[in-house]
């Protein structure tokens, strides 16, 4: 016996969750196996589709996608699946995300002071879009060194944004230990904890402090820490106190917008009846005549069996450890799917840090049904599909296509698995 379902999705990131949701739409029983808690808390929360192609910025990803080279994940699934995947995402996150009204990319300021082309953005970042001409005040907090507001403002000016932008650093109205993360600030605002030097809450104290610096700014950008439980209420309080729009600038880990997205998608999984199991990696499997019948998770040497008709591999790329390497080879650790790469490891990279590195494109190659291919171009396993950054053939960091590929291929793989199961 084994713990039994129709579709098994391995990997709890954006691709895995989208796969599970898409498969569940087909009315089958779906289980999501994730080694660790979702790493979306390390993500900005922005949903990039295609920001750059052929070295240039992309205005309309849907125009650019059909021109991508053969083997690119978008080429594999086709532009229609990209649209359907995004529809599923929009449905799952509801009003908490914007950008679905147009095919064109939005330009969102980042905490480094660059402007990022992205397809969907949290509603909390909306007032910050770079296409807006209203003057901006960027606000940083002394205790949170990850966001240097004056420097970010300078970078935005250098990037030629069509609005006035200033940056100032202030003290957060409540002091925390020196290494406090954005989470701590968010919690203080969630609960409106009392400010240190006044008889008012942190929200009101923050409004008072910001007021002194407004000086004609019509919108205020702060690092993304405006509440974890109830970000819209926190932001609303600041906006009504200041009389101007307030927006969040997405930050690095631990990222509140990433955590909020994780919560929304987990709610969607629960609503869809997806069974989630977190905490143990998949380490073994039973192949049978070209099919995978059972996979085993490991808990300190003890193996627990899970069986399903169809399997989706969504374990991530080089960062997520879904693709690994040693001095000899690059490999996919769960099913040992073929990962094309040069034999000589000195050909895996180029010399300059920002050169066009081959390793950035390492990953499994797939047919148009997203089934991983072996070294001879044959299907590895009939009932195995791959999605997200375990796929090769694209450079997600250079293209700004990570989230979009996860959603599009996750959707396509999940739907196909659901239909076949």
């Amino acid at each position: 016996m084994a713990i039994s379902d129709d579709v098994l999705v391995i990997g709890g990131g954006l691709a895995g969750m989208t796969s599970a949701l898409a498969a569940a739409e087909e009315g089958v029983r779906v289980r999501l196996l994730s080694y660790k808690k979702s790493t979306l808390r390390n993500a900005s929360g922005l949903i990039d589709l295609l920001g750059y192609a052929d070295g240039g910025i992309v205005a309309d990803p849907f125009e650019a996608i059909p021109a991508l080279h053969e083997g690119h994940p978008y080429e594999r699934v086709g532009v229609e699946r990209v649209r359907e995947g995004l529809d599923l995402f929009d449905e799952s996150v509801g009003a908490s995300y914007l950008g679905g009204h147009t095919d064109r990319n939005a330009l969102v300021p980042t905490y480094g002071g660059t402007v990022k082309p992205t397809a969907r953005y949290p509603v909390s970042t909306a007032a910050g879009l770079a296409s807006d001409a209203r003057p901006v005040l960027l606000l940083g907090f002394e205790a949170l060194s990850a966001f240097d507001a004056p420097l970010a403002a300078e970078h935005l000016r250098a990037a030629g944004v069509p609005f006035d932008v200033r940056g100032v650093s202030i003290e957060f109205p409540k002091r925390f230990r020196a290494d406090a993360t954005a989470m701590r600030f968010a919690r203080a605002l969630d609960r409106d904890e009392p400010a240190d030097d006044a008889d008012i809450g942190t929200r009101a104290a923050l409004v008072e402090e910001i007021k002194d610096h407004l000086d004609g700014a019509e919108r205020v950008g702060v690092p993304a820490l405006l509440g974890d439980e109830d970000p819209e209420e926190v932001r609303g309080t600041l906006e009504s106190g200041l009389g101007v729009d307030v927006f969040e600038v997405p930050m690095g880990p631990p990222s509140l917008p990433g955590l909020r997205l994780e919560d929304r998608l987990y709610d969607a999984l629960d609503d869809a009846g997806v069974r989630v199991r977190t905490g143990n990696p998949v380490v073994e499997f039973d192949p049978d005549d070209g099919y995978i019948t059972t996979v085993y998770t490991d808990r300190n040497g003890q193996h627990v069996p899970f069986e399903a008709e169809e399997i989706v591999l969504a374990t991530g790329g080089l960062v997520g450890k879904g693709v690994k390497s040693d001095r000899q080879a690059v490999y996919e650790p769960v099913f040992d799917c073929h990962v094309p790469h040069p034999e000589d490891r000195y050909e895996w990279f180029r010399d300059g840090a920002f050169d066009d590195h081959p390793f950035a494109r390492f990953g499994v190659s797939v047919d148009r049904d997203l089934r991983p291919l072996d070294a001879d171009g044959g299907v590895e396993y009939e009932n195995l599909r791959a999605a997200g950054s375990v796929l090769g053939g694209y450079d997600l960091a250079a293209e700004k296509s990570g989230s979009g590929v996860s959603i599009a291929t996750g959707y396509a793989a999940g739907r196909a698995a659901g239909e076949c199961a």
Partner: protein, 455 residues
């Protein structure tokens, strides 16, 4: 033919750079930490206590600091509740709880070195040596140390108390006892001491004449733990009846506490002694083809993860790989879902809380998933917050407020849930759930028993 891909065979082999290699080389773990702080964001203590430096400091950072110069373990290690949530979120597989347990053990070792040495000498029969150590003991011992040692050896106390359960319940429940405990020993008076059953599980088992089912191929050894022996024998009885329903031969080996409260209090020598007894007895059964079943998720965590991480006793790994949580084992070997689907159960609606230690084993959604099959019963998950009690932690006077602050979210969600009876696998989470809501708290095995056996 099962396939093990090569990815997990590659072990990182660090160069030896320190003069004095410790028993456990935790360097690969410390090296794996890339400071993303995900562990800090999931720590329930850090969430309510701004002075607590968090798991990243307690684990890899403290380990490095200690190696660099001759620093002592920071006392804040005793504020860690050993919920082990950090293990479950680390994207880089740093063995955080192992580092915390090791550091806490070292800290507590330093609190009473003479006592530990005297006990070791006694155990070796070196009476004169023991005596020489004992002279140093009085100046070293603190009330806090004694309190923690008593709390972490709950099983020994319970063994005495349950000899005269009614009297013990009367004494422990009295306001005078509580006041004295709180005032002089730092055991909070806010909580009601758990009542002892008038008949322990093991007494019941003997009276019953042992197993009612014998089988050559379906055989399990039951690790009941202290709590379901002394306090909630109905859980242990449910385990026996459910397993016998499925045709298993159940044996109940002689056992001591799993060690969970000892790890949490840094009493590693006590834990090691208990573990040695458990491993020796359980591995006898494993050798004869039995799997070990635990109904308490902290016990299965101790046997499955903490033993192999902390001890090198012979047979540890063997016992570890053969130890299962009770419901998961049935899911693997029986069609439990199918059985439950057709069952009609008379049981109150339930508000389920997943214990942190169940979460860490990947079992946090199991109960709700399984009982979702039952039409006659509603089970709601009250969310992923920690109950806050973490075994003996919430019993300490100075930790009580922190414990209740952590639990607040769970209490709220329990009140919001339809069911007015709680459900959880962990006996101390159950205490906290009952303490915060006044609800009666049941165990998933009792639901399965009601659905399948009592029909």
């Amino acid at each position: 033919m099962r396939v093990t891909p090569r990815g997990f065979d590659t072990e990182f082999d660090p160069a030896q750079v320190f003069d004095d290699p410790t028993e456990m080389d935790l360097r690969p773990g410390a090296d794996n930490c890339y400071k993303c702080s995900t562990c800090d964001t999931s720590c329930p203590v850090a969430e309510v206590d701004d002075d607590f430096p968090g798991p990243k400091f307690q684990g890899p950072e403290q380990w490095r600091l200690k190696k660099g110069d001759d620093r002592d373990i920071d006392p804040s290690i005793t504020d860690c509740s050993n919920c082990m949530r950090c293990d479950n979120v680390c994207p880089s597989s740093v063995p955080l709880s192992q580092m915390h347990n090791t550091a806490r053990g070292e800290y507590v070792e330093g609190q009473a070195p003479s006592l530990w040495s005297a006990e070791d000498a006694l155990a070796d029969g070196e009476f004169r040596e023991a005596l020489s150590y004992l002279r140093g003991v009085p100046s070293e011992l603190s009330i806090e140390f004694v309190r923690n040692r008593v709390l972490s050896n709950y099983g020994t106390m319970a063994g005495l108390g349950s000899e005269v359960p009614r009297l013990t319940n009367l004494v422990m429940g009295s306001r005078v006892t509580k006041w004295v405990n709180d005032r002089f020993f730092g055991i909070t008076a806010e909580r009601d001491f758990p009542e002892f059953a008038t008949q322990t599980f093991r007494e019941w088992w003997r009276e019953r004449g042992g197993p009612k089912v014998e089988s050559a191929d379906k055989r399990v050894a039951y690790f009941h733990g202290d709590y379901s022996n002394y306090n909630t024998p109905e859980v242990a009885k449910a385990m026996v009846r459910v397993y016998e329903f499925f045709g298993y031969e159940v044996r109940v080996p002689t056992q001591r506490c799993s060690g969970t409260p000892m790890f949490a209090n840094g009493m590693l020598r006590d834990a090691r002694r208990a573990a040695a007894v458990n491993i020796s007895n359980l591995s006898d059964f494993v050798d004869r083809g039995y799997d070990v079943i635990a109904s308490c998720t902290s016990c299965s965590m101790a046997l499955g993860q903490e033993y192999p991480e902390l001890f090198d006793i012979e047979g540890t790994q063997e016992v570890s790989t053969h130890t299962y949580e009770a419901l998961e084992y049935l899911r693997i070997h029986e069609d439990l879902e199918d059985e439950l689907r057709d069952a009609d159960v008379e049981f109150p609606d339930l508000a389920y809380h997943a214990p942190c230690h169940a979460r860490n084993q990947g079992l946090d959604r199991q109960a709700v998933e399984l009982f979702g099959e039952l039409d006659s019963l509603e089970v709601e998950d009250v969310g992923d917050s920690c109950s806050g009690i973490s075994g003996t932690y919430g019993w300490k006077t100075e930790k009580y407020d922190t414990s209740m602050q952590i639990g607040e979210e769970m209490f709220e969600h329990m009140h919001d849930a339809t069911g007015e009876t709680g459900l959880t696998e962990c006996p101390t989470c159950a205490m906290q759930m009952g303490h915060g809501t006044g609800y009666e708290i049941r165990h998933p095995l009792e639901v399965v028993e009601a659905a399948l056996v009592d029909q």
